[in-house]
Symmetry: C2
Subunit: 441 residues, 2 copies
């Protein structure tokens, strides 16, 4: 039998312990697959005494993950500690520099230092695999890196954060407010005690920067991404979306435009009958558009110990089988600097929800401001009261503000921002307007 592939594993949380179990349970199958057994020989974690359902005595213990990363007894270093900084960063660098393959689920580290790490892996001719960093159990990294490389990708977008999708799904299905759904998500372990990283879109942004790099061959730049979270989404928006034939999802979108590559994370109205709109709960989904091709959509579990662990194990198995691709699909030196398309130049349809003051002239003022920016409306809905565009203003009573919902034809972000700033200056609306971009499939 061939020499076993010896694995050192740093980080023994849910994913780490699941990896140990999967490798043990799948031992015979993995051996059959690559003709070479895979063995965990050493582990590292913050605490040795913490209760875990694995027998630590079977593995050498390292209190320092960096020491494990350079230990000559291992062939592969599996990093499941997380975080863009040390010790994860130093451990991964050390492992690669020592000529060891690395498998990691650490999206933060990759989004920030992926470029340098890929170059180092290339120099040392070792694998740097990170299937688990995006989309949990969905094989999206491999698909972009190797699976479709004859294509000219034009757009990649998806639901990359299970927490947000769970919250939006619950809000819609159970008619609950954002805060209530967030609390439920926390209770069920879908959201952290500090949920802002998830709900404000930063987790999605890190993942998107990895996907964009793979799809377009560009250098990673998490700062090139426009980010907006879901905490401002109200039930009124979900209801209006449903009425208009849409659903609201937090999407990460990377798209090739004439002005460069546009990368953005924001709540998005997607057509109700699209594949992506069907994805409810903690499930993730990614759609890939390429020139002249119908879109390809991958749907599956976005998180969860087992799904993530299964992606880690497939990365380890690739190493055991001798499959090695460039980490970001092309030699690091050939990854191009990203030409960032500024968000103000984004073009598309917009959903706008305003609270209009219930007095003469309001509708006319709003209509004028939109017209000044050449924004045409596909539809306008005013729930209580009357005044559609052009219809007479309601009688003198200074009642409650009236919700007005508008869908624009394709226009630019810039135009929408200017028009709404003018409307606010005109003092014909109360509060901030709600703006949600529409993504067509």
């Amino acid at each position: 039998m061939a020499e076993p592939l010896k694995v050192g594993l740093a980080g023994l949380g849910t994913v780490g312990t699941s990896v140990v179990h999967l490798l043990e349970r799948g031992r015979a199958k993995l051996l059959a697959r690559c003709g070479r057994p895979i063995e965990v020989v050493a582990v590292s974690a913050r605490s040795r005494s913490k209760k875990r359902n694995i027998d630590l005595k079977k593995y050498r213990w390292f209190s320092d993950p960096v020491a494990l990363a350079r230990d000559p007894s291992i062939d592969v270093f599996v990093e499941l500690m997380g975080g863009a900084g040390d010790p994860a960063k130093r451990a991964v660098q050390t492992a690669l520099a020592s000529g060891k393959a690395v498998v990691t689920a650490n999206k933060a580290l990759l989004a920030r230092h992926g470029q340098k790490l890929a170059a180092l892996a290339e120099r040392k001719k070792v694998a740097l695999n990170f299937e688990a960093s995006v989309g949990g159990g969905i094989p999206i990294i491999k698909t972009l890196r190797e699976g479709l490389n004859g294509d000219a990708f034009t757009r990649i977008y998806g639901i990359l954060n299970g927490t947000c999708n769970y919250i939006l799904s619950r809000m819609e299905q159970d008619r609950l407010a954002f805060d209530e759904c967030l609390r439920d998500a926390q209770r069920l372990g879908y959201a952290e005690a500090d949920p802002s990283f998830d709900v404000e879109g930063h987790d999605t942004a890190q993942k998107l920067s990895i996907l964009a790099s793979l799809a377009f061959g560009t250098k990673l730049d998490p700062n090139a991404i426009y980010v907006e979270g879901i905490s401002s989404i109200a039930l009124a928006d979900l209801d209006a979306a449903a009425d208009l034939g849409y659903r609201i999802k937090l999407l990460g979108v990377a798209v090739k435009t004439e002005g460069g590559i546009e990368q953005r994370v924001h709540p998005t109205m997607v057509p109700k009958e699209s594949a992506i709109a069907q994805v409810m709960g903690v499930t993730n989904a990614v759609t890939i558009d390429a020139e002249g091709l119908n879109p390809i959509t991958l749907v599956g579990p976005g998180a969860g110990g087992l799904a993530t662990a299964s992606a880690v194990v497939s990365d380890i198995a690739d190493i055991a089988c001798g499959v090695r691709a460039a980490p970001f699909g092309r030699p690091a030196a050939r990854m191009t600097a990203i030409r960032k398309a500024p968000m103000q130049h984004h073009e598309g349809g917009y959903y706008i929800r305003l609270l209009a003051r219930d007095r003469p002239g309001t509708a006319a003022t709003i209509a004028r401001r939109l017209a000044q920016q050449n924004i045409s409306l596909e539809s306008i809905v005013q729930r209580h009261g009357i005044a559609g565009q052009g219809s007479p203003p309601p009688s003198g009573r200074s009642g409650e503000p009236v919700p007005v919902i508008m869908i624009t034809y394709a226009t630019s972000e810039d135009a929408v921002r200017r028009a709404l700033a003018a409307v606010r200056r005109d003092r014909v609306i109360s509060g901030r307007p709600q703006v949600i971009r529409i993504e067509k499939n």
Copy 2:
């Protein structure tokens, strides 16, 4: 610059010419990807004079594909001729035996001779790639071969034939009969002049045998598959399915059971809200179930020159990048013989549509025959007339036969067959009963 990867291409139909175009158009991108240019140097096809939108003068011409396959000027032989026999078979064998990598879209060849060809590729340490053979532009081969290999797969099923899905979608959406939709499919180029290979399920069966082998590590055996096509599906079935919360799709299903691996192709009722039910038209989709994981679904274009060509090019690019995996995901010698679970032992729910003779005792007879086989009914619908189970038979008039639709709880194929044979012997129904299996997600 590194030596170019030299490609010899046999078969210049829609897919072949698209491959040539894609390789030219994607030249810079592919070079960036693998640091090595990819060049078509020689081609072969049945006729040299046929009009094609490529300039044949740029390539060496071989009238004999086998001569091309062994020509020292090429590194990779791309086989797009099709057919399980010669010249495709001999050409692929010759190429592999000459130490050349092979890329093929030939599902028939793989389903029949995949085992031997994989062993030969392995012996010669060359790649044998066939992403285009199943699911066109969907990267299902790579996903099963490399992407998820930590997992214990339990079931894989999908819509693998665009022609059938187009016909069933049109029947449902436009309320047309099977024959009409088939004629339209032929007119649009979605179906062959002799459509039986597609509509009788044989195309799906060949693809399923490839997927089953990849998923379960078993030897290919297209004869181990139970096959039933869609030509008997009537509008009445689609209507009944819709009423009951289902859609009818032609599925290929491979599932691990206690009795072995069950492989079957047949019209299937799938829950209307499942991912697979949303897939309409010529689109393909595959769902993968693994122990303890939520299912993963891949959706995309199942056919079309460009989608298929794009899969071929990604296979060629893998070779240029030096990515090589075992053709069926594990060494050929480790692929196990398939333990075939006989169709009679299949267990699941059934949809049964009968034309019951409109006379006293019919309902009671049918009910008794089902009960004798321990089949319980989840629902029964009788459209015209009265007699539900137990209600009094209609009055003596010997009118038209009455359609009766039943959904059973989980039972066995054997029980259903016996019960229906008995009912036919009892002469209480007219014509053959329609039976459609239900697949739960």
